[in-house]
Amino acid sequence: MKAAVIVFPGSNCDRDVTVALRQSMHAGGGGEPTLVWHKEADFPAVDLIVLPGGFSYGDYLRSGAMAAHSPVMTEVARRASRGVPVLGICNGFQILTEAGLLPGALMRNAGLRYVCKDVHIRVESSQTVFTSKYETGQTLRIPIAHHDGNYSADDDGLARLEDGGQIAFRYCDNDGSHSSAANPNGSARNIAGIFNETKTVLGMMPHPERLADAQLGGTDGRPLFDGLIEALS
C-alpha cells in the first residue's frame, strides 16, 4: 500500500494527515506515506492520494482556487479518472471542487466566522472504499476548522448528489438527526462531505486526522484511514 500526501504552498495539515496515515499503515502491514511537493507533476505510482487541509496560497482570491492549478493537479486528475482514490480534507476538498473533480463550491461560512470545534457527522453510506469501516447511519465526532465550508450547489446538482448516493457525510446532532442547529456553516442539506460519481474521490470539510489518536481526545476519525489501508493493501 502506497499513499501520497500532496503539499501545496500553505498546506498545514500535511504532517497531521501523514501521521494518521502512517499509524494505520503500520497497523495494517507497513509502508510510509510520501510527501509530494506540488511542483512534482510526475510523482511515483500510489494507491491513494491525499490533499491535506491548510490555506494553500493563503486562501487568497478563493479557497483552493490557485492550488487547483498547481502542476501536480493535472496528474491527480488523470489518476483520479483511472480510479485511484483521492481524499481531500478541508482545503483539500476546496481544491477538489475548484479543480472540477467534485461538483459544487465551498463558500464563506454562513456565520462569516472561522469555526474550529468538534461536530457530529452522520455516515451516509458505508459502501465505499473510504467508509467501509463505518456503519451507514453511524454518528461520528470529528473536528471542523474552516472559514469556507458552506457547501453550495444548484438544485439539480444537489438532486444528482442525492440520487447518486454521493453524499458521504452530513452534519447532525449527536443522536444523528440533521437539524439546522447542527449545521455549523450553512451547507446545503447539511452536507459535510461528498463523493464523485464513482465514489473514488471524497471531499470532506471535517478533519478525521485530528481525532485518530486517543491522546487527542477521540478516535472516531481513525476507521476512515484503517478502512482505506485495508481496502487498498
Binding site: P9, G10, N12, C13, R15, D16, V19, A20, G53, G54, F55, Y57, G58, D59, Y60, G111, R113, Y114, V115, C116, K117, P143, A145, H147, H207, E209, R210, D213, Q215, L216, G217
Partner: protein, 728 residues
C-alpha cells in the same frame, strides 16, 4: 537630503540632550537617514531606556535555562535533546488603531522571534484587555482583534491554544494585545543573531520592503493624544501566507550548515536587525540599499531602513553557501537578495548606487543609548477589608449566576472557536482548561502553557499583584500536572515619566522577581510596553506572565471536568474568605476597593507540589485551581465541563458563606477523587490544609443555603454573554 532642523529632531522623539549625544558620537550633525536610525534605536521600544535598570533585577537563571533574556526569545531545556523557545510581545497601539491588522501582525512578529532561533512554532497564546463593554469602541475592537489573531494564526498553521481576556474601563483608550509563541527546537540547532566572520554575506529574505509603518517604533513609544487618526497609515498589513513559506524555508535552511546568524526584522526593521547582528558580534556592516527588494518605486534610504514591512528576515551566511540558500528560498517563492557584508570596522555604512548615504559607529551608538532611572513613588497601600464587613447577596445562587455570566468570567468559547486550536495534531489539552497541553511531537510528553495576570490586583497593590500573576501562572501549569519551568513576561504600563506609574512598574517587578525566585520559575524573555495612556489616563498595571511547564507522561495529567458521579470534591489550601479587590466585590457589591489577597509564596509552592504529586500518581480525577470568582465559580466550571452536577456541604468554621464561596484566597485547588481518604492523608503529611467539601452528581449545583441551580441555567449564563454581546 533635507537638513535636520530642531523640529525634525523633536518629531523623531529625541530629547535635546539625546541629540547632543548624537552630535558627540558622530562629531558632526547627522543627516536625516542617520537621525532616523538614532531615533528608532533609542526609542523606548528598542532601547528599553526606562525599564532596563529594573529588568536587570529579575531572576533569569535556573537549571533549565539555555538562553535567558537578550536573545530573540528565551530558550529552556525540556529533555530528550529538545528545547522550548518562547516569548510574548505586545502589539497594543497598532491593534487599537486597526484591530484586525494590528493583532494579526502582532502574531506574525512573535512567531518570527521564535522561529528565527531555529524552533518550529507549536503554539500561540494571546492575552487581551479591552475597555468597558459599554464603551462604543469595545465591541468592534474585540471582534477585530480576535478575527485578526485567528486570521493570521490559522493560516500559518500554528494552533492558538490559550490566552486570557479582561474588560475594564481603564483600557478604554488603550487596549492590550499580547501575543505569545512557543516553539520547539533541537538543543544542538539553536540559532542566534550574533554575527561573525568579516566578509560574510548578509542576505535579505522574505517579502519586499514597502513604506509600511515607517516610524512605527517611535509611535509605539509616544503617548496617545487626540489626533491619533493621522498616524493611521503607519499600520501594516500582515501576509500570513508568506510567513508560512518563510517558516518552512528558514527551517529547511536551518537543517544545513549555511547560517552564521539570523535575525527577524521586527520593529525598526532593517535598522535594528542589522545593527543588532553587528553589535553582538563586535563587527561592522556594509549595506547596499539599492539591492533591497522594494515593493514601491522610488523608495528612499530613510524609508528602506525604517520600514516595518512584515515577513522579512536578515541572515548572515557562510560565503560558500549562497547558492544553496538561494535555492531554498526560491523553492518557496520568496525574495532572496545579498544586500551587504560584514566588516571589521565596527561601523554601519549604508550606500546607494555606490555612494555613501549613512555612516555610523555601532558600539558607541549602542552604548550611549539612554538609560534612565526614572523617579518613582510607591503605590499607596489599601486597607484590608474584613469579609464580615461585606454584606451577603440577596441570593447566593443568583450571585453565582451573575458572576458566571459577567464579562470577566464568562466562557471564552466565542473567542477560541475562531482559532484553529488543533492544527499540528498535538493539542492534548484544548482551550477551556487551566493550561493548554501541547504534546511534544512523536512522544508521550507535553508542554503546558498559560498566560496570567490580574490587573485589578496589580492596581490595588503592584507588588502583590506582580507576585500573584506569577503564582497564578505557576498554579495553572501545576493544575494540569505539569512541572512549571520558566516564564516570559509582557509588562504593559502607562507613562513612565509619571512617578506614580513608574512606582507601579517597580512594584510589579519586585513582586514578579520575588515570586520567580521562590517558585524557581525564572524569566527567560519578555517585552515592555509603556506609554499605554490617553489624555493622562494610564491603563491599570498589567504585567502579563506567560508560563511554560513540562508534563513527563500524558497519561498522568488532569483536566477540570468532573468525571463521575459520587466522587469526593476536595478543597486544598487555606481559605480565609478574602473579598478585597475580588470579582464578587466588584460585580455583586459594586465596590472596587480593598487590598488584594495576600500571596504566600512558600504556601503556594507547598500546596502546588502536593497537588502535582497527586496528579502524577493519578490519585485525583479532576483538578482546577481557584482564582477569579473563588470556590463557587471553580466548582461551576468543573461541573459545566463535565456535564455533571455537585452538592457542597455547609463549611466548618465561622466564615460568612459568601466569603467562603467567592473569596479569592490564593494557593488553592479543587480536586476530585473516588474517595477522599488518599488525598486527605497526603495533604496531612505535606502539612497542607485540605477538606472534603462535597460530592459530584446530579444535573445541577447545590450550594449550602441555596436551591439547586440546574447546569443548563449555569451554562446559559456562562456561554451566553459573549455571543450575545458581539451579536453572534
Amino acid at each position: 537630503m533635507s537638513e535636520v532642523t530642531p523640529e525634525i529632531v523633536a518629531e523623531h522623539g529625541l530629547k535635546e540632550d539625546e541629540y547632543q549625544r548624537i552630535l558627540e558620537i558622530l562629531g558632526r550633525a547627522p543627516n536625516l537617514l542617520e537621525l532616523g536610525i538614532f531615533s528608532v534605536m533609542w526609542s523606548e521600544h528598542c532601547s528599553y531606556k526606562s525599564s532596563k535598570v529594573w529588568l536587570k533585577t529579575l531572576p533569569t537563571t535556573g537549571d533549565c535555562v539555555i538562553h535567558g533574556p537578550g536573545e530573540n526569545a528565551g530558550v529552556i531545556d525540556i529533555g530528550d535533546g529538545l528545547a522550548a523557545i518562547f516569548k510574548m510581545e505586545s502589539h497594543n497601539h497598532p491593534s487599537f488603531i486597526e484591530p484586525y491588522q494590528g493583532a494579526a501582525t502582532g502574531v506574525g512578529g512573535i512567531l518570527r522571534d521564535v522561529f528565527t532561533m531555529g524552533a518550529r512554532p507549536v503554539a500561540n497564546l494571546n492575552a487581551l484587555r479591552f475597555g468597558d463593554p459599554e464603551h462604543p469602541k469595545t465591541k468592534q475592537l474585540l471582534s477585530g482583534v480576535v478575527a485578526g489573531i485567528g486570521g493570521y494564526g490559522n493560516c500559518v498553521g500554528v494552533p492558538t491554544v490559550g490566552g486570557e481576556v479582561n474588560f475594564d474601563p481603564g483600557y478604554n483608550g488603550n487596549i492590550l494585545v499580547n501575543a505569545m509563541t512557543v516553539g520547539i527546537a533541537r538543543t544542538d540547532r539553536i540559532f542566534t543573531s550574533k554575527a561573525s566572520g568579516p566578509g560574510n554575506p548578509i542576505v535579505y529574505v522574505g517579502s519586499k520592503t514597502g513604506r509600511d509603518g515607517i516610524h512605527g517604533a517611535t509611535m509605539a513609544s509616544a503617548e496617545f493624544a487626540e489626533g491619533t487618526e493621522e498616524k493611521r497609515p503607519t499600520v501594516q498589513v500582515g501576509d500570513p501566507f508568506t510567513e508560512k513559506l518563510l517558516i518552512e524555508a528558514c527551517l529547511e535552511l536551518m537543517e544545513t550548515d549555511a547560517i552564521v546568524a539570523i535575525q527577524d526584522m521586527g520593529a525598526a526593521g532593517l535598522t535594528s536587525s542589522s545593527f543588532e547582528m553587528a553589535s553582538k558580534g563586535g563587527l561592522g556592516v556594509e549595506l547596499a540599499l539599492d539591492k533591497v527588494p522594494c515593493r514601491e518605486t522610488g523608495m528612499t534610504p530613510y524609508e528602506m531602513m525604517l520600514s516595518e514591512s512584515q515577513e522579512r528576515m536578515l541572515i548572515v551566511l557562510k560565503p560558500s553557501r549562497e547558492g544553496l540558500a538561494r535555492r531554498v528560498f526560491e523553492k518557496w517563492d520568496l525574495d532572496f537578495a545579498v544586500i551587504g557584508r560584514l566588516t571589521d570596522t565596527g561601523r554601519m555604512v549604508l550606500t546607494l548606487h555606490g555612494e555613501t548615504v549613512g555612516d555610523l559607529p555601532i558600539d558607541p551608538l549602542a552604548e550611549a543609548a539612554p538609560e534612565y532611572e526614572r523617579p518613582w513613588e510607591p503605590a499607596p497601600s489599601r486597607p484590608h477589608i474584613d469579609a464580615a464587613e461585606i454584606p451577603p447577596p440577596a441570593d447566593l445562587g443568583q450571585a453565582l449566576v451573575t458572576l458566571l455570566g459577567s464579562p470577566d468570567l464568562c466562557s471564552r468559547r466565542w473567542i477560541w472557536e475562531q482559532y484553529d486550536h488543533m492544527v499540528m495534531a498535538d493539542t492534548a489539552g484544548r482551550p477551556g482548561g487551566d493550561a493548554a497541553v501541547v504534546r511534544i511531537h512523536d512522544s508521550d510528553r507535553a508542554l503546558a502553557i498559560t498566560t496570567d495576570c490580574t490587573p485589578r490586583y496589580c492596581l490595588a497593590d503592584p507588588e502583590r499583584g506582580g507576585a500573584q500573576a506569577v503564582a497564578e501562572a505557576w498554579r495553572n501549569l501545576t493544575a494540569v500536572g505539569a512541572l512549571p519551568l520558566a516564564i516570559t513576561d509582557n509588562l504593559n504600563f502607562g507613562n513612565p515619566e509619571r512617578p506614580e506609574i513608574m512606582g507601579q512598574f517597580v512594584g510589579c517587578i519586585k513582586g514578579i522577581a520575588d515570586a520567580c525566585r521562590t517558585l524557581d520559575f525564572p524569566v527567560v524573555s519578555g517585552n515592555v510596553s509603556l506609554y499605554n495612556e490617553t489624555n493622562g489616563h494610564g491603563i491599570p498595571p498589567t504585567p502579563t506572565i506567560g508560563g511554560v511547564g513540562l508534563i513527563e507522561d500524558l497519561a498522568a495529567t488532569a483536566t477540570i471536568a468532573f468525571k463521575a458521579a459520587g466522587e469526593a470534591i476536595l478543597l486544598i489550601g487555606e481559605t480565609t474568605g478574602h473579598l478585597g479587590a475580588s470579582l464578587y466585590l466588584r460585580e455583586i457589591a459594586g465596590r472596587h476597593d480593598g487590598a488584594p489577597p495576600p500571596v504566600d509564596l512558600a504556601a503556594e509552592k507547598r500546596v502546588g507540589d502536593l497537588v502535582r504529586g497527586l496528579i502524577v500518581q493519578q490519585a485525583v480525577t479532576a483538578c482546577h485551581d481557584l482564582s477569579d470568582g473563588g470556590l463557587a465559580v471553580a466548582v461551576a466550571e468543573m461541573a459545566l465541563a463535565g456535564g455533571l452536577g455537585a452538592t457542597l456541604g455547609q463549611p466548618d468554621g465561622g466564615l460568612p458563606l459568601h466569603a467562603w464561596l467567592f473569596g479569592e484566597d490564593q494557593a488553592r485547588y479543587l480536586v476530585t477523587a473516588p474517595a477522599a481518604g488518599v488525598v486527605l492523608e497526603a495533604a496531612r503529611q505535606a502539612g497542607v490544609p485540605a477538606v472534603c467539601i462535597g460530592e459530584t452528581g446530579g444535573s445541577g449545583l447545590t450550594l449550602p443555603g441555596t436551591d439547586t441551580i440546574s447546569l443548563s441555567t449555569l451554562r446559559a449564563a456562562h456561554e451566553g454573554w459573549m455571543p450575545a454581546y458581539t451579536g453572534a
